[in-house]
């Protein structure tokens, strides 16, 4: 049976910070088989990874950056924030592929998925961490499903930086890359994955219609260059850059009715992170011509009440089973870019309190986007809080 532990540190010295995290996470570093690291971009990554590998010599060390980390003590969004989850036991495996880009997501993810399948029998859930830029995330999901089946629940996040939209980093042992795919397969038969996701934004105005696009590259909306169109709606000049609009330029795609009910939101959202300099914009998933994209507006009341409804539903899903660990993927726009310290602590407390977050190992990251099943299929989201409790299957009577 897999054993989980978590720790966090706000120390700025990377070696000391990792030492503190691991000291909190595990009493037996030699037994740890996997360390999942989430860090912010000010840390010295090489030093972090070396510190983890030295202290947990039998562990694979993976992870990714975010604009902040979420842990049992709350949230840290400094330039040097760190949190880890340690996993001990044989029923976990990792595969890593470098070189991810917009065009090869499906093939690379399928290759990684095949390798994962061959390395461990009985995988029943997969954690996925990918680059946040230069990615077509629906292709990545499709690739993992090609290898492991579409009924394999996939959860995770895309990496991020501190809101500058300059880079996003993935870690695999000594490797630090901006084009990585990391798959973690869990095969503990006593564990089950639950999930839930919510964003709390509403569409405003008439939707844009994609009039020219290829893959995830949208050239025009409503027949006009895409990015200036969006900026005009926001009353911002066309030379505004994506990092300046991260929390307010989210685009929504309307969901089918049944999924709207499950999601408690009408649209699933995409964050525009990259522009092409000619008015085109890249979304993190494919966007066929004809797709309607609504500019979305945060609704603070809906965010807070939505979290409460989300937690009620999650508690129903967990149904009293033992929670052994919680993974969390939050959009960076739900962190300090939007909320002040008090509101942020409140919203995180609303999630952690019902799940005994102060005592259950907890690891979350503020990434650019989230991977979370919805409507019986694996999906990609932006701007959400996505929670993934791992629960112990009740013993057979």
């Amino acid at each position: 049976m897999l054993q989980f532990g978590s720790g966090n540190s706000s120390q700025v010295n990377s070696d000391s910070a990792m030492a503190e995290c691991l000291e909190k996470a595990t009493k037996d570093p030699g037994a740890v088989s996997l360390v999942i690291v989430h860090a912010t971009v000010g840390h010295n990554f090489k030093a972090l990874l070396a510190a983890a590998r030295t202290r947990c010599p039998n562990a694979t060390v993976i992870g990714c950056t975010g604009s902040g980390v979420i842990h049992s003590e709350g949230v840290t969004e400094a330039m040097r924030a760190l949190a880890v989850m340690t996993i001990a036991g044989p029923e976990v495996a990792v595969t890593f592929r470098d070189g991810l880009n917009r065009g090869n997501g499906r093939a690379l993810a399928a290759e990684a998925g095949q390798a994962l399948k061959q390395s461990l029998d009985g995988i029943n859930m997969v954690a996925l961490f990918t680059a946040g830029f230069d990615v077509t995330a629906d292709d990545v999901i499709a690739g993992v499903e090609d290898a492991l089946g579409s009924d394999m629940p996939i959860f995770g996040a895309t990496a991020a930086d501190n809101g500058k939209a300059q880079g996003s980093f993935q870690f695999y042992n000594d490797t630090v890359t901006e084009h990585g795919v990391l798959l973690v397969g869990f095969a503990d038969p006593t564990l089950e994955l639950e999930w839930i996701s919510h964003h709390g934004s509403n569409p405003i105005g008439a939707p844009f219609v994609v009039t020219a696009a290829q893959g995830n590259h949208i050239t025009t909306l409503d027949g006009k260059p895409a990015w200036p169109q969006i900026m005009e709606r926001l009353g911002l000049p066309p030379d505004t850059t994506p990092d300046q609009t991260l929390p307010i330029a989210g685009l929504g795609i309307e969901l089918p009715g049944a999924e709207q009910t499950e999601y408690d939101n009408s649209h699933t959202m995409r964050v525009p992170l990259e522009i092409d300099g000619a008015g085109g914009v890249y979304l993190p998933t494919s966007v066929p011509v004809g797709t309607k994209l609504s500019l979305m507006q945060r609704d603070e009341d809906k965010i807070f009440s939505g979290v409460e409804r989300m937690m009620d539903r999650l508690k129903e899903k967990v149904a009293g089973r033992e929670i052994v660990a919680v993974f969390q993927a939050d959009c960076m726009a739900r962190g300090r870019l939007t909320f002040d310290r008090v509101l942020k602590d409140e919203i995180i407390a609303k999630m952690q309190y019902p799940l005994d977050g102060a005592t259950v190992p907890w690891l979350g990251v503020y990434g650019f986007s989230e991977y979370c099943p919805l409507g019986g299929r694996n999906q990609f989201h932006s701007y959400t809080t996505s929670l993934f409790p791992l629960v112990r299957r009740p013993a057979a009577p």
């Binding site: 010295n13 400094a78 330039m79 008439a206 709606r233 926001l234 009353g235 507006q297 002040d340 310290r341």
Partner: protein
């Protein structure tokens, strides 16, 4: 205008209004973020003092300071620089966040960069950034000086971002200047205190070392008995009358050995021997008051039993010492005298040259008692002044030897042989014949010399090497021949040392 067109215009206006609302909301969030950052900075500054005073070294102090500044101001890099004595140059004593280790390197400095004690913000075009660019790759810095206890520039602290970090790190802000000045000012003041504390520690360590050195010449115990804390406070007139036990040891035939060995070997041998004697005395709660050549005077302020225990331990230590000598010439023999009573302990000498010493009849008698060891063929002789004050007399094998008046004294003293110090094969025989010896001694004192000869002969029958018994047989024979005289008291009057 059609209703549809009008509605479209109104919709566009509303959409624009909502868009503006979004932007305003984002700017409000940014303003709140600044407030959060300021609160965080305040918390870090508060914790900084607590953390930095725990630093165990100056190096740790620098590290904690830079780490706290990095945490408070979200710097990418930071440097702690100290004055080198060269006004145009500062030494990097600690760095944080740089790819290269800069500690130990020197950076150019110009006092014109400073504006009093205030922090300043420098950008890429400024002189300091330009001149440090090659070494540090800095793009912009906050720089603040700190000062020593005399108000002179002690160094500067900088925090900033490099050209590589511009993409991720926020631009430095003039709004940070006052907080940065406060924190560096605190660091400077604490550093001055820390350095002062280090100086005091170093001075104390030096004093302690000096004191240990002094203690080799004047023992702490001596000062304690004199009622002084330090050797500096001892005055030429300082003295105190004390009642204690004195042990005096001397090597046999050392003068002759010295002549044979030569000065260098004698010194080495003597120091090795005296070194071997220190521990037995110390561990028996005594202390060495004085060396005089190969002689040792040790004082036992507590129980007299300690002095006897020390004598036995010294003899055992000498046996070990001798066993380790490859040259038979280096195997030593010693005599020990032990006596108790009042003595004067004090500083002896003039104003320029002082020595610690003990003087008085008790001390003289101890030395004379040691001299008796040769007469009686004993290793250790103890006076009745000591034996009477033993707390556990049964713990020690003592054989009464004689009642003597030593040179320079009028009163007789009874002397005993401490059999525990006899390392010869005859020790057990002496123990076995102790009663016979006492009976013979009684006959001798009563003037019944012929009988005494016979009884002493019995003792010698069991141990022909018993020097004391031989001495008495010889004395009795002489007394039989010449008669004891009308004033016979059984007391032996000795006229030599």
């Amino acid at each position: 205008m059609s209703e549809t067109a009008d509605a479209a215009i109104r919709l566009a206006a509303l959409e624009a209004e909502v868009g503006r609302h979004q932007v305003v909301h984002q700017r409000l969030a940014a303003a709140k973020r600044l407030l959060d950052d300021e609160l965080k900075r305040f918390r870090v500054i508060q914790q900084f003092v607590e953390r930095v005073v725990m630093a165990e070294s100056i190096g740790a102090f620098y590290e904690v300071t830079l780490e706290s500044l990095v945490e408070a101001f979200e710097f990418e890099v930071a440097l702690f620089l100290r004055n080198t004595g060269d006004p145009d140059c500062l030494a990097v004593v600690c760095c944080f966040g740089f790819d290269e280790e800069l500690t130990g390197s020197a950076l150019p400095f110009d006092a014109a960069w400073l504006k009093g004690a205030d922090s300043r913000l420098f950008h890429g075009d400024d002189d300091v950034v330009q001149r440090w660019a090659a070494t540090t790759n800095l793009a912009e810095v906050l720089l603040c000086p700190f000062f020593d206890k005399n108000g002179a520039i002690s160094g500067v602290v900088i925090g900033g971002r490099t050209k590589d970090g511009l993409a991720y790190y926020d631009a430095l802000s003039e709004e940070s200047l006052s907080s940065f000045s406060v924190m560096v000012g605190q660091a400077g003041a604490l550093l001055a205190n820390q350095e002062l504390a280090d100086e005091i520690h170093a001075h104390n360590a030096e004093l302690e070392s000096l004191s240990k050195s002094y203690s080799r010449f004047v023992p702490f115990e001596f000062l304690k008995l004199l009622g002084r804390d330090t050797i500096q406070s001892v005055l030429p007139s300082d003295h105190v009358s004390l009642d204690m036990t004195v042990l005096y040891s001397d090597l046999r035939q050392f003068t002759k050995l010295s002549e044979a060995l030569g000065a260098e070997k004698v010194f080495a041998l003597l120091n090795a021997y005296l070194g071997a004697m220190e521990q037995p005395i110390k561990s028996s709660n005594g202390f060495i008051n004085h060396y005089q050549g190969d002689a040792v005077t040790a004082l036992f302020p507590g129980s007299a039993d300690s002095a006897l225990a020390a004598a036995i331990a010294m003899v055992e230590a000498l046996a070990t010492f001798n066993a380790a000598q490859t040259d038979p010439q280096h195997r030593l023999r010693m005599g020990i005298g032990i006596n108790s009573g009042v003595l004067m302990l004090g500083a002896v000498g003039g104003g320029e040259r002082l020595d610690s010493n003990v003087v008085g009849d008790t001390v003289n008698l101890t030395a004379r008692t040691e001299g008796l060891t040769k007469l009686f063929g004993a290793t250790c002789v103890v006076t009745d002044l000591t034996v009477k004050r033993l707390e556990n007399p049964g713990k020690f094998d003592l054989r009464e030897l004689d009642r003597v008046v030593v040179a320079g004294r009028n009163d007789p003293v009874v002397v005993y042989e401490l059999l525990g110090c006899d390392v010869s094969a005859g020790r057990e025989a002496k123990r076995a014949s102790a009663e016979t010896f006492a009976k013979a001694l009684d006959c001798y004192r009563r003037g019944d010399f012929a009988v005494a000869i016979g009884v002493f002969a019995e003792v010698l029958g069991k141990n022909p090497d018993d020097a004391a018994a031989k001495l008495f047989v010889q004395r009795c024979a002489e007394l039989v021949q010449r008669g004891p005289g009308a004033d016979w008291t059984g007391v032996t009057v000795l006229d030599g040392k």
